[in-house]
Every structure is written in structure tokens, then in C-alpha cells.
Amino acid sequence: MATVQAQPLTRAEQFRDYRRAAGVWMAGPGLWVIIGAFLVWAMIAERDGVVTGVVIGAVFALGAVGITLIFAILKFGHFAHGDTMMLSAYLGFMFLTGTIAGEQQSDLVTILPVSTSDLPGATTDIWNFSFGYGLLAAMGLSAIATALFLVILNHLVYAPLLRRGSSVVTLSIASLGLALMIRSAMLMLWGSDPRFYSPGIRQAVDLPFGVRVLYDQLFILAIAFVMAAFLYFFLYRTRLGKAMRATSDNADLARVSGIDTERIVRWMWIVAGVLVAVAGVMLGLQAQLKPELGFIILLPLFAAAVLGGVGSPHGALVGGLLIGIIQEVAVTSGIIEPGYKFSVALIVLILVLLVRPRGLFGERA
């Protein structure tokens, strides 16, 4: 017999091949199948969880877009993003009520001569929402202030470090120090007592399929949708947005083709600031304001950015929604105790890092 007999595979080799095939499937179509199956199951079995999840996920999504943009353009993880989100929520509170904490943390004293709720009719509720247009004005002011704040931070800290040729890790540590400063500034200015935008009663509405939503939550979804559309338009339809995507693909190439990368970086901070401020005010509308929340919310934000694929804005949006839904459904279905809610994001993050580090829409790990 002259033909070469193929050696039968050993058990170990079979197992290795199986693992490899399983890994490819798990990291590719399998992941989508699992996510799809989960969503279908959640919508049938845990509708309330999905609704809350989509709302909180919208907040995560807008925050995660900022993180992913910073990852893509400056290549570092911005650990002050969660605290910036909280700061913008508090700025919204300040513009709305004109107050900060007084000598005792529980008091509130007025510092702004005019606040947006002093405007005529600003506090009469719009439609069935629990707030008037004063909150919208405060949100706008907070977005401007947060964008300005991030641009100043970039000017004072990140840009000098980058110019000196610091490594990306140095920037991350600087952002950690800034996170600490922002958090203590919030505690100094507004105290550790929880704050609310409006004490009003929140009205709920019954939608088809037995879904019950607060009107405020509908508002959050609408605003998030508008912001996502705005972001898409900006990134894909404007010159500046295209230049920003080019810079994130290859900063050196962008620079030699005549793009002013410093200007791009500045605009990136503005976009990230506006998005995170809107997210922050929406978070304040959904829950109460607490300075400690900022550092914890980093986890779902990063998990969303990594799940969506670092550097991919639409990935961050999808990742944020998914993290929100998974988190709420895990709690309402009783898989996870409410005290461990935040750890869902951690588990998702670790699983993504193990199975598919480049994320759902990312091109490289």
C-alpha cells in the first residue's frame, strides 16, 4: 500500500480543534445569536426590565461615545468621564435652581442671581413630563459648561502631557487624579446629600403589550435618539466629523494630509462634553444625584465602549443600550441581587475581553 494513511486525530487534537471551532463561532456569529436570543427572551419575559434598561442604557450610550472617541483619537482611557457626567448633572442642578450647598451640607444657598427656573413659566410642566422648559435650558447651559470644562482640562493637563511625549498610561493616571478632584469639588459644592431636579410626581403611561413607562423616560429616549442622530450627522456628513474619523483612523496620516489635529482634539472634547452632559442630566432625571455615583458609572461606560468595540461610536451606542438592558433584566429576573447591579457591567466586560476583545464593531483589539 503506497498511499499515505491519514493519522486518526488523537483525543487531545480533537479537543483542540473543537475548542478552536467553538471559539471562532462564539466570537463571531455565536455572539450575535446569543445576544439576539437574550433580547427576544427578555422582551417576552422581562418587559419592564427591558424598558428601564433601554432608558438607563441610553444614558450609558451617550457617555460611552465620549469614552470611545477619546480612546480612538487620543488613545487613552479617560477615567474622569464618569465624574464629568456627574458634574454635568450637578451643573444642570445649579443652573436650574441657582443653588449650592451652604455652610452645612444639608442647606442650599443661592449663588446664581438668575436661574432657569426663574424664567416666566419655566417650571410649569410640559405635556406630561415632571419638569418645565427650565430643565431643558439648564441642560443646554450644562452642556456648554461641560464642553468648556473639558476643553480647559485638555488645554491645562492632557495637551501639555501629550506635547511632552508622555505615554498613554500617564494620561490615564492624570485623568484618575482629575476624577478625584472633580468628585471632591462636587462634594464641596453640593454636599453628599442626594439632590433632585424636581420633586413632582412622575406620571406613567401604558403602552401596548402591557408596557408601563414614565413620561420622563420617554423624554430621555427621545433626547438620546436626537443626540445619536446629531452625532451620526456630525461624524458622517460634516467636514469636521470626517476629519475626526480620519484622525482616529490614523493620526499621522491625517496630520500630513493637512488636518489640524489639535483643532480636531478640541472638537472631540466638545462633542464628548455635550454628549456626557446630556447623559448626566438625563441620569439626574432618572435617579437622584450623588457625587459617589460618578466613579461607579465608569464601569458600565467602559464596558459599553469595549463591548461595542473601542473606537466605534455606533458600537458604543449599541453597547450602552445592551449593557443597560442586561443590567436591568438581570436584576428584575432575579438572577442578580439589586446590591450587585453594577457588577453586571463588570461581568460583561470580562466576558468580552475573554471572548472577543475587539468588541462587536471594533476592527482591532
Binding site: S166, S167, L171, G339, L354
Partner: protein, 406 residues
């Protein structure tokens, strides 16, 4: 030989030592902190003995925190690993040590697992109940913390640096939440009190604090000597080269993943030991002790202020930063205006955050800059042959912002 890079401000090793005002920074800040601490305590008590008691306790905690700073320094300073969850390993070490050494729970207000204290009195000589359980507790604390680090290293260490950072933040928060939620494990929010202390029954009374001081300083010295030997060995050189240029290290045949894991686990083991010592020192621990702020940021500030990649720096940084922390606590006992009194702890937090940023911006090398060097053997050989060792050409220090992704 691996080329070492140092910040450009340092003179090369073979240049004649040039006097720099910067070399005075470390002694000045140490003296300043000591002066403030001693001054305020003396002013408040007017009693030298009371000052000595306070200072002994102060140095004890500073030494314990310096152990943690050294551990972080091996991970971050020497290897460039981004552990933002020091608090988690700190907590694990402290809780493990407490659960091992405590008596079993027999009280309706306390609920926890373990409590092997009395069972560990197994050696029939030298009143072993006064020291043997504590050695077991140290070993357990190191093992649990190191094991945790090993598990964590699997998904995170082969990826971008930032992923390790965010995962460790999450793990630290998760561990703290477990300590709060799982009543049966560690007595929930009330925490664990009445943790036994080594040698306490032998040297009772108020002099015990000096025993504790000696124990803490000896532990610090042991960790220091161990780490100094480690980082000056070929092993330590691989770590430093990993920090400087991962690709080049890999190209010269070193397993990046393996060395990173070793460094991460070693650091975590030492953090566990530090946590255990902290539990013995403070007698009572609760989840509130191990917040991100106290457990992580404080230690990071110590390493950054002292100068990363430098064990002496970590110790100096621990002393100075802890001194700063304690002085803000001491100031609180003065009659401050309400506006300040309710906010002094936030001002302190802000100052620590600002310290990190200012150090990064203005003096990235810290109080005690890292010395360039290849290995002790090469230095000795150079000294013996009487000629200055030719300094390796400075490799380009970790390039622009763009090269962190590989």
C-alpha cells in the same frame, strides 16, 4: 543588556554628580511633614509622651501603607501595569487575616465565617497563640490576594493597559460590595472588630504600640529588601524592559504574558500582606475602610509623589502623603469655621488628586527620581575596574501618544 531610560532631566550616570536643588526636595518634605505632625500634637497635648505615642502610631500606619505602595510600585513603577483596584487586594488581605485569626463567632451581633484563632494554637511552646496564627493569617492573606490577581490576569493582561485598569476598578468595587452584602461572610456593614494582635498578651498595655511599630517596620524592611533584590536581578530587568518597550522584550525571547503575570501576582501578594498587617494594626475593619479613595487613590498618590519605579521613592512618598493626610485630620480638632469644618475631608481629597496631576505635569520623576542602572553586577564590575561604566545611549522614552496600542 537592556537599555534603561530615565526622564531627560537626570544626568547620565557617568557624568560628574551635579548638585541639584531637586535632591533636597525629599528630605525637606519629610522634615516638613514630621515637623507639622509633631508640632500640632505637641501644641494640642503639651506632653512629650503623648506626642511619642501619637508619632509611633503614625509611623506604624505609614510603614503599612508603604508596604502597599511598594507593592503597587512593583506593578506600576517597574512593570507598567495599571492596577486601579489596590483597594480590592487591600480588602482581601485584611479580611482574610481577620477571619483567620479571630475567635469563632459566638455573639448574636457578629456573623462571619472562619475564626480559627484558638484552633491555630498548635505549637506547644513559646506561647504560640501569640504569633503562630498571625503567620498563618499572613500566608493566607497573601495566597488569597495572589490567587485573585492570577485569575484576573487571565482575561486582562494580554490586552491594552486600560483594560486592566477598568477591570481592577470593577473588582475592587465588587469585593467591597460583597463585604457589605454578604452578612454571613464578613459581618456586613458592621465589619469585623476585635481582631487579635500579634504578641499582644506578652506586651500588654500602652507600650504595645511600640511592639506594633517594630513589627510594621520590620515587615516593611523585609518587603523592601526582597523587592530590591528582585528588581536588581535579571528578573527585575525584564520587568523594566517590559515597561519601556514590550515589543523589544518579546523580540529578545521573554514571555511578556508570563512576566507580567508574575509581577502582577507578586504585587497582589504583597498588597495582601499589607492588608493583613493593616487589619492587625487597626483592630477593626469594615467595608467603609476600603473605599476607592483610601484604598486606591491614596496609594497611587504615594507612588506618584515618591517617584515611580523606585522603592525608596515609594517609602518616602508613603510617609509624606500619610503625613499630609494626618495633618488634615489634626487640623480638624481646631475650631474651624463651619464652611471649612464640613468640607475639610473633601479639600484633602481634592489636594491628593491635585498632587497626582501636579506631579505628572511638573515633576514626573517624583520626589526621589529613579536611578538609571543596568544591574548591581555590572555596577560592581565597573567600580572594581575603576572606570566609569559607559552609560547606554538613552533609548527614546516611550514615544508619542500613539504608541500605546500594539
Amino acid at each position: 543588556m537592556t537599555a534603561q531610560t530615565t526622564p531627560a532631566s537626570n544626568p547620565p550616570e557617568n557624568a560628574p554628580a551635579r548638585w541639584q536643588w531637586r535632591t533636597l526636595l525629599a528630605p525637606i518634605s519629610v522634615l516638613l511633614v514630621t515637623g507639622v505632625i509633631l508640632g500640632i500634637t505637641y501644641e494640642q497635648s503639651g506632653d512629650v509622651a503623648a506626642v511619642a505615642r501619637f508619632y509611633a502610631a503614625f509611623v506604624t500606619v505609614a510603614a503599612i501603607l508603604a508596604i502597599l505602595a511598594l507593592a503597587l510600585n512593583i506593578q506600576w513603577g517597574y512593570t507598567g501595569l495599571f492596577n486601579f483596584g489596590v483597594a480590592g487586594f487591600f480588602l482581601v488581605g485584611a479580611y482574610t487575616a481577620a477571619l483567620v485569626t479571630k475567635d469563632p463567632d459566638n455573639d448574636q451581633y457578629a456573623d462571619y465565617v472562619g475564626g480559627f484563632g484558638p484552633d491555630l494554637d498548635i505549637l506547644p511552646f513559646l506561647s504560640s497563640d501569640q504569633w503562630f496564627p498571625f503567620l498563618v493569617a499572613l500566608a493566607a492573606a497573601g495566597a488569597v490576594s495572589g490567587g485573585l490577581a492570577f485569575l484576573l490576569s487571565i482575561p486582562t493582561l494580554r490586552l491594552r493597559d486600560d483594560y486592566l485598569a477598568i477591570t481592577t476598578i470593577g473588582i475592587a468595587e465588587l469585593l467591597r460590595r460583597i463585604a457589605i452584602e454578604e452578612q454571613w461572610l464578613g459581618n456586613g456593614t458592621r465589619g469585623l472588630g476585635g481582631i487579635p494582635r500579634p504578641l499582644e498578651d506578652l506586651v500588654g498595655g500602652s507600650d504595645y504600640r511600640y511592639v506594633l511599630l517594630v513589627i510594621a517596620v520590620i515587615s516593611l524592611a523585609l518587603v523592601y529588601v526582597l523587592l530590591e533584590r528582585g528588581v536588581r536581578s535579571p528578573w527585575g530587568r525584564v520587568l523594566r524592559s517590559l515597561r519601556e518597550d514590550e515589543l523589544a522584550t518579546q523580540a529578545s525571547g521573554k514571555s511578556v504574558q508570563s512576566f507580567k503575570t508574575q509581577s502582577f501576582v507578586l504585587g497582589a501578594v504583597i498588597m495582601g500582606l499589607g492588608g493583613a498587617t493593616y487589619a492587625f494594626q487597626s483592630r477593626a475593619i469594615s467595608p467603609e475602610t476600603f473605599t476607592h479613595f483610601f484604598g486606591t487613590f491614596l496609594i497611587w498618590t504615594m507612588v506618584m509623589v515618591g517617584g515611580s519605579g523606585n522603592n525608596n521613592g515609594a517609602i518616602v512618598g508613603a510617609y509624606v502623603v500619610w503625613g499630609f493626610w494626618q495633618s488634615t485630620l489634626l487640623i480638624q480638632s481646631y475650631d474651624l469655621p463651619d464652611l471649612l469644618a464640613t468640607r475639610i475631608s473633601f479639600i484633602r481629597d481634592m489636594a491628593l488628586g491635585a498632587l497626582i496631576v501636579i506631579v505628572l505635569l511638573l515633576m514626573p520623576a517624583g520626589l526621589v527620581p529613579e536611578k538609571r542602572g543596568v544591574s548591581i553586577w555590572a555596577e560592581r564590575a565597573a567600580r572594581r575596574s575603576g572606570q566609569a561604566q559607559r552609560a547606554p545611549p538613552p533609548a527614546s522614552s516611550a514615544g508619542g501618544g500613539g504608541d500605546g496600542v500594539s
